[in-house]
């Protein structure tokens, strides 16, 4: 009897396995990505992988896809999203290695060098050359997605960081809010005047910046000081030079003078958003979040591209639309990409996700919709530079974070911290 029961159990298990695999059959509505596209009726299935898990963006992209597929009933778009960093890398590595790459990827700038050089991203030069709208996209959107002379994508969002500052705090400290700091010296001077302490504890930072997990601050200030950080042509790091050391030494003064509130680089931990900072580099997305939160000081925010030295430079995280070389429906994929860059869609993303208006024709509309931040933001875009486009971008990012953290916590002086990070990076690259 027991034997019979076990046999029946086995049979049931086998049947279940059979039914499971049947779920993935060719007629399954959600099966697969690139491979099951194109049939005799001309139907096309595109897969679109977006890096990022924001619910607002998911809703917005889903609506855009629904609208597009309604207008193009022969096209089906399978949308999926995934977190940045390891999750994205693991998923893309697996999908590309197995030949199941998504047709379209909205990914960060840090992926371009590695994936373009491995032939995973397709060059879009020919498509762009014939595109009517090509001249209506801001130049930065092209620049950040250009690698070794080829255009591998177009940025759909540029998270340009700009200096946010509080009018009320400036006035309280006797500073003119219409004259934001223009030089490093002014920035430090303003920060000292704006810092509020209780005993030795800084309760309001004059100028806030994350001291942990932060590569952006050092990168942009080193660039402001004339450092190149990376020689992309020679494919080598150069960040242990005098210019970068000077930039890092500048920041250690903030620690020495007890001007900082230590915090980790997470968007939900920034002191400015919590009302505990007078100045901080932030992005348009934070502006939208602060406005939406309904805090009573939202109208006190003012904006500037920030100070400069040899030049003004701000750091920008870029989200770029790429097409996979493996895609079997490149024309259809390009058609959907073009749709993403129509004025209506770009504006929808601006309004609903805090994205950048990457079309030149939308500048006036942007300024009208965001009269307080618009002009400063569009000006900032001109100074925005992203991560260096090298295959070892993630190692570079780690090196910057480590050096910055070690110097800020006083573990090493600026030169030693940068030298050590430089040697570590080269050692990991095997050079």
């Amino acid at each position: 009897m027991k034997h019979l029961k076990v046999t029946a159990l086995l049979a049931a298990a086998l049947m279940a396995v059979g039914s499971m695999t049947a779920c993935g059959g060719v007629n399954s509505p959600d099966s697969g990505s690139t491979a099951d596209k194109g049939n005799s009726s001309g139907d096309v299935t595109l897969s679109f992988l977006r890096a990022g898990t924001s619910e607002d963006a998911q809703i917005a992209y889903q609506a855009i896809i629904d609208e597009y597929t309604k207008a193009n009933p022969n096209v089906k778009i399978e949308y999926q999203q995934i977190g940045f960093g390891t999750e994205l890398d693991t998923k893309l590595n697996t999908l590309y290695a197995s030949g199941a790459a998504p047709d379209l990827v909205r990914g960060p700038i840090s992926t371009i060098a590695q994936r373009a050089s491995m032939g995973q991203y397709a060059a879009l030069d020919d498509y762009i050359a014939e595109w009517d709208e090509k001249d209506n996209v801001i130049q930065t959107a092209y620049d950040v997605a250009n690698y070794k002379g080829k255009q591998y994508g177009i940025a759909i969002n540029i998270e340009a960081s700009m200096l946010f500052y509080r009018k009320d705090y400036f006035e309280e400290a006797g500073l003119d809010p219409n004259k934001p700091p223009q030089t490093w010296e002014e920035l430090l001077d303003y920060a000292e005047k704006l810092t509020v302490r209780e005993g030795d504890d800084v309760v309001r930072a004059g100028f806030a910046f994350p001291i942990s997990s932060n590569h952006q601050t050092l990168i942009q200030f080193a660039r402001q000081n004339g450092a190149t950080l990376v020689d992309e042509e020679k494919d080598e790091a150069t960040f242990n030079d005098e210019k970068t050391i000077e930039a890092l030494e500048y920041f250690t003064q903030y620690a020495d003078k007890n001007l900082i509130i230590p915090f980790v680089n997470q968007k939900d931990q920034n002191p400015f958003e919590l009302g505990n900072a007078a100045m901080q580099y932030l992005t348009l997305n934070t502006y939208v979040t602060i406005k939406a939160s309904g805090v009573d000081w939202a109208d006190q925010m003012m904006f500037s591209p920030g100070p400069g030295r040899e030049k003004i430079s701000t750091f920008g995280g870029c989200q770029i639309m790429f097409m996979s070389e493996q895609s079997k429906n490149k024309d259809a994929a390009w058609d959907f990409m073009k749709h993403l860059f129509t004025d209506d869609v770009v504006w929808k993303l601006v309004e609903e996700t805090g994205a950048t208006a990457v079309k030149t024709g939308l500048e006036d509309k942007f300024n009208e919709a965001y009269p307080d931040i618009g002009p400063a933001y569009l000006e900032t875009l001109q100074y925005t530079e992203g991560m260096p486009k090298v295959e070892w971008a993630s190692l570079f990012e780690t090196a910057m974070k480590t050096a910055f953290e070690e110097a800020m916590y006083g573990k090493k002086d600026a030169k030693t911290a940068l030298d050590d990070a430089y040697n570590q990076l080269n050692s990991e690259r095997g050079i």
Binding site: C23, G25, S31, Q80, Q81
Partner: protein, 290 residues
């Protein structure tokens, strides 16, 4: 002598209590965080207890996405994985332990090497195998043309149903039985298969319970494999859902994340509570302790 033993017992109890508290701290922090508001969590000064316990965080967390579906997917995948793996592992373990055949030890050694290869190394090859599985997901006989088992439940289950560790555990368990048991079964006219089903399987409760708990927690808690295998919300498992719903590029909703995490550990906790007697017995009898 007796007082010495008493002192030793007291010391052991104190040590175990301390260890117990250390292990429970993260759990308590999780529960407390799940009841806090975001401003409380993000406040510059750490506060252990919430000013007001927000049980509504649990409701809000479960309203983000189709949690019934995510739980259903994880239950289905875990249950089938455990069921099939118990059958396969115990049969393989029985074979290695009780059936003498040429090359048995060599074969077992090769099976064990599977325990030494990290998952990260096998991830892409396994993915390619499943993508190229013949006659599934639009594939032809040679595994071309379709998507194989990508985005299917089978793709989540198959890689976990067998495993060197389970085979090893069962073999160790079946090795403990005396040879006379096989002789007695043989005299009574039992074939190997009958002996397995009628004698060994009924005696295997401790090891099967142990394996069930280990397999269930491995499958239930798995994040990376479902992340790369599943492409849509419909087949998403809870571990992927908990990250994708509460951790975004803009912020992390710690209170909701912790509330959802507290909910998703419950099934495993219940499973362990029901099987802990057998679990401990299984660990002891297979010599896996310490």
């Amino acid at each position: 002598m007796r007082s010495k033993r008493k002192l030793k017992n007291v010391l052991v109890i104190i040590l175990l209590t301390i260890l117990c508290i250390i292990f429970l701290i993260p759990l308590f922090l999780m529960i407390l965080t799940s009841l806090k508001s975001m401003p409380e969590i993000m406040a510059s000064k750490f506060v252990l207890f919430p000013e007001k316990a927000l049980f509504s965080n649990y409701i809000e967390a479960m309203q983000r996405g189709n949690w019934l579906g995510y739980f259903g997917n994880s239950f289905f995948v875990t249950a089938l994985t455990v069921l099939i793996s118990l059958i396969l592992n115990s049969m393989a373990g029985y074979g290695f332990a009780r059936i003498p055949f040429r090359g048995r030890n060599t074969l077992f050694f090769f099976a064990l090497t599977g325990m030494m290869v990290p998952t990260q190394v096998t991830m892409i090859p396994v993915f390619i195998n499943l993508k190229s599985f013949p006659l599934v997901g639009g594939n032809d006989l040679f595994g071309n043309g379709g998507t194989g088992m990508i985005n299917t439940y089978a793709g989540l289950i198959l890689p976990y149903i067998a495993g060197a560790f389970g085979v090893f555990l069962c073999r160790q368990f079946y090795m403990n039985f005396p040879a006379s048991l096989d002789d007695a079964a043989k005299i009574d006219g039992c074939s190997r298969l009958t002996a397995y089903f009628r004698i060994y399987l009924p005696l295997s409760k401790p090891i099967l319970a142990t394996l069930a708990v280990l397999k269930a927690s491995q499958t239930w808690n798995d994040y990376m494999w479902p992340l790369i295998m599943i492409n849509n919300d419909e087949k998403m498992t809870i571990q992927v859902a908990v990250i994708s719903k509460f951790v975004t590029e803009v912020n992390t909703q710690w209170n909701l994340l912790m509330a959802a995490t507290a909910m998703i550990i419950l099934p495993l906790l219940i499973l362990f509570l029901f099987t802990q007697k057998y679990f401990v017995e299984g660990i002891v009898t297979t010599g896996m302790k310490g």
